[in-house]
Amino acid sequence: MTATTTPYSELKAPTTARRLLTAPTTGPLAALLLACAFFSFSTDQFLTGGNFSLIVQQVMVVGTLAIGQTLIILTAGIDLSCGAVMAFGSIVIAKMAAEGSLPPLLAIGLGLAVCGGFGLLNGLLVQKIPLPPFIVTLGMLNVAFALTHIYSEEQTVTNLPGPLTALGETFPLGHTDITYGSLVTIGLFLLLAYSLSNTGWGRHVYALGNSAEAARLNGIRTSRLTIGIYTVAGLLYGIAALLLISRTGVGDPQAGQTDNLDSITAVVLGGTSLFGGRGSVLGTFIGVLIVGVFRNGLQLMGVASIYQTLITGVLVILAVTVDQLSRKKAR
C-alpha cells in the first residue's frame, strides 16, 4: 500500500522553469492567482494595497496554527486540539497580564509555555503509549476547551495592557498600513519553510511521514523527532494566541472553536497530503490565502457568508481528490 514517492528535495531539476512548474505549490498558487484575478474584475475594492494587507491580517491567526498543523500532518498525524489550545493560551496570557498583574512579557512567556506543554503532552501520548493522533488531540481539544472556560469563568478579558496588543498595531508601507502581526506570521512561514527544505531536521520530518519504520531503520530518532514536532506545533499555537489577542484586543474564551478545521482546510488546499510525507509550509500559506481571499472577495461582492462555507467545502474535497488521484497514478 505504501506509495513510493520521491521526496521533492531529491528530484532532479534540469531547469528552473521545469522546477517551478513541477513544484507541489504550483496548483494552489494558480488557483490563488485566478481567484485574485476574478475578484479584481468583479469588485473595485479588491485590488488595493489596503485590502491585501487586510486579508493577511485576517488570516494570520489561522495561518500560524496551520504551520503547526502542516508539521504534524507531514508526519501523517493530525491535530484537532490546535484551536482550543490557542484559546487557552490566549486566556492565560490575557488574564495573567490584565488581572494577575504579571508583567506582560512574563504573561506572554507563560502562555507560550502552556501551549508548548500541551504540544509536548500530545507528542508523548502519540509516541510513548502510543495512541492515534486523532484520538489524543480529540481528547486534548476537550481538555483545553474546558480549562479555557473554567479558568476564564466564561468572562471575556478586557482592558489588556499595551504590549499584549502591540502586534495588532500598524506601520505605514507606501499607501497601506501593515500590522506587525502579519510580519510575524510571514516570518514564521519563511523560517519553517527554510527549516523543512534546507536542514537535516526537515529531511527527517519528510522521511518520518513517508515511512516511520524506514526512517527508524535509517537511524533517525523518530520518537524524539515526533515529540519535538508536536512541541514546536504547540509553541506555534502559543504565538497564534498572542496574535489573536492583538487582533481582537480582548481575551475571548469562545475563540478558536472552528480553527482546528480551518487550519486543516488550509493545509489540504495548500497541497499537503493527509497521508504524510508530501507537501510544504509555503503551500499552506497559499492555502490560507485562498480561504482569506474567497471570504474577503465574496463579501466585497455582497455574497452571503453561507456561500463562503459552500465554496470552501467544495475546494477541500477537490484538493483531496486530486491528491488521491495523483497517488493512484504514482503506484
Binding site: 494552489p28 475594492q45 487586510l54 452571503a304 459552500l310 484538493a319 486530486v322
Partner: protein, 338 residues
C-alpha cells in the same frame, strides 16, 4: 512518480480548483438575492452581521433587512459568524464590509464585549454602527440600539405566571441561556421581578443554550432533583418545548405552567396547542427594517441614529389572565417569525 505525472497532477489541481470555484461563484452570484455586484451605482450599501446563518430568528432578521433595502433603494450585504459566540468571524465581517464601502453596519453581537474594538475601528472610519437585538458592553460602543426590552419581556411572563398560579405556592425551575450573556440574564431577572420572586425561590436553574435537546435534559434533571416543580421559566421556546417533552414523559404536562420568550412561529403554535402557557413575542423583522432605514437616512442627510429604540414585545396567550394585557395566538401567528 515521474516528472510528467507530477506536472500533470499539479496542473490538474489548478484547473479543477479554479474551474469549480468559478462555477460556484457564477451560481451563487445569481442566487444570493443581494443583486448585482455593480459598484458605483449610487446605491447606499448596508451591511448586516448576525450571530449565525442558521438560527430562524436571524433568518427572519435578514428577510426584514432585504425587504427594507429593496424599498429604500439600498444594497444589502450580509455575513454571520460560524457559530453563536464566533467573535473573530464577526470582526472579519466588519472589516470586509468597511473595505467594501458600506455606509452603515447592523450587527447582532455574539460577544458583547469582545466585538467592541472592531466596532470602534469601523466607527472611526465614519461608518454608522447599530446593534440589533443584543446590546454591546458598554452600550455606548455603538451609535444606536434597536432591540427588544428583554427585562420587560421577562416581566410580562412573570406577571402572567403569578396571575395564573392564583396564589398557589410556586416551585420554580429556570431553564436559562448561558452564563454571562446579557439577554438571558435580563429575561431571567425580568421574570423574577414580574413574578415577585427572588433567586431563593428558584428551586432549580440550568443552562440550555436555548437548545431543545439541552432544554429537555435540563428539565429531566430538575425533575429528578425537585419532583414537585410547578412553574417553568424558559429562555426561549425551543427550551420550553424540551421542557414539555420531559414533563410529558412523567405525565406532568397538564399541571405544570411553562412560560417563555421569543414568539417564533413554532413557539407560538406551541402556545396555541397548549404546550406552552404564554410567551413574550419579539420582532426581529422590525429591528432589521428600522436599522436599514436609519442607515439610508444617514447616507442621505448625515443624520445619525442614536440611543435605544424599543422594537416592542407582546404577551401571547390563549388563556388570558385578569389584569395582564395580552393578545391571542391568532395575532401571535400573524406576527411571528421563523
Amino acid at each position: 512518480m515521474s516528472r510528467t505525472t507530477r506536472l500533470s497532477s499539479s496542473l490538474l489541481r489548478a484547473a479543477a480548483v479554479t474551474g469549480v470555484a468559478a462555477l460556484t461563484l457564477t451560481a451563487c452570484g445569481s442566487g444570493s438575492g443581494s443583486g448585482s455586484s455593480s459598484s458605483g451605482s449610487g446605491e447606499v450599501k448596508v451591511g448586516l452581521i448576525t450571530k449565525t446563518d442558521t438560527n430562524p430568528f436571524f433568518v427572519k432578521m435578514k428577510e426584514g433587512a432585504e425587504k427594507a433595502a429593496k424599498e429604500n433603494g439600498a444594497q444589502l450585504s450580509t455575513a454571520a459568524g460560524k457559530f453563536d459566540g464566533d467573535n473573530a468571524g464577526q470582526v472579519t465581517a466588519i472589516e470586509n464590509m468597511v473595505a467594501a464601502g458600506v455606509k452603515g453596519i447592523l450587527i447582532t453581537p455574539s460577544d458583547s464585549k469582545a466585538i467592541v474594538p472592531a466596532i470602534e475601528k469601523a466607527r472611526a472610519k465614519g461608518v454608522l454602527v447599530i446593534a440589533l437585538d443584543t446590546p454591546t458592553e458598554p452600550e455606548s460602543a455603538v451609535d444606536a440600539l434597536f432591540a427588544t426590552d428583554n427585562l420587560k419581556a421577562g416581566e410580562l411572563i412573570g406577571e402572567y405566571a403569578k396571575a395564573a398560579m392564583k396564589g398557589k405556592t410556586a416551585k420554580i425551575a429556570a431553564l436559562d441561556l448561558a452564563p454571562g450573556v446579557s439577554v438571558g440574564v435580563q429575561r431571567h431577572d425580568g421574570f423574577l421581578k414580574g413574578f415577585g420572586a427572588t433567586e431563593k425561590d428558584v428551586a432549580c436553574a440550568q443552562d440550555t443554550g436555548g437548545d431543545q435537546a439541552k432544554g429537555q435534559t435540563a428539565m429531566e434533571n430538575c425533575l429528578q432533583k425537585e419532583p414537585d416543580i410547578n412553574v417553568v421559566y424558559t429562555i426561549n421556546e425551543p427550551a420550553a418545548l424540551g421542557a414539555y417533552t420531559a414533563l410529558k414523559a412523567k405525565g406532568r404536562e397538564k399541571d405544570v405552567l411553562i412560560v417563555s420568550v421569543d414568539g417564533g412561529c413554532t413557539g407560538t403554535q406551541a402556545v396555541k396547542d397548549g404546550k406552552i402557557a404564554a410567551t413574550s413575542q419579539q420582532y426581529p423583522l422590525k429591528m432589521a427594517a428600522e436599522g436599514v432605514k436609519a442607515v439610508v437616512s444617514f447616507a442621505k442627510d448625515g443624520k445619525k441614529a442614536s440611543g435605544y429604540t424599543d422594537t416592542g414585545v407582546t404577551l401571547i396567550t390563549d388563556k388570558a389572565q385578569d389584569g395582564v394585557a395580552s393578545k391571542d395566538t391568532a395575532y401571535g401567528l400573524e406576527n411571528c417569525w421563523g
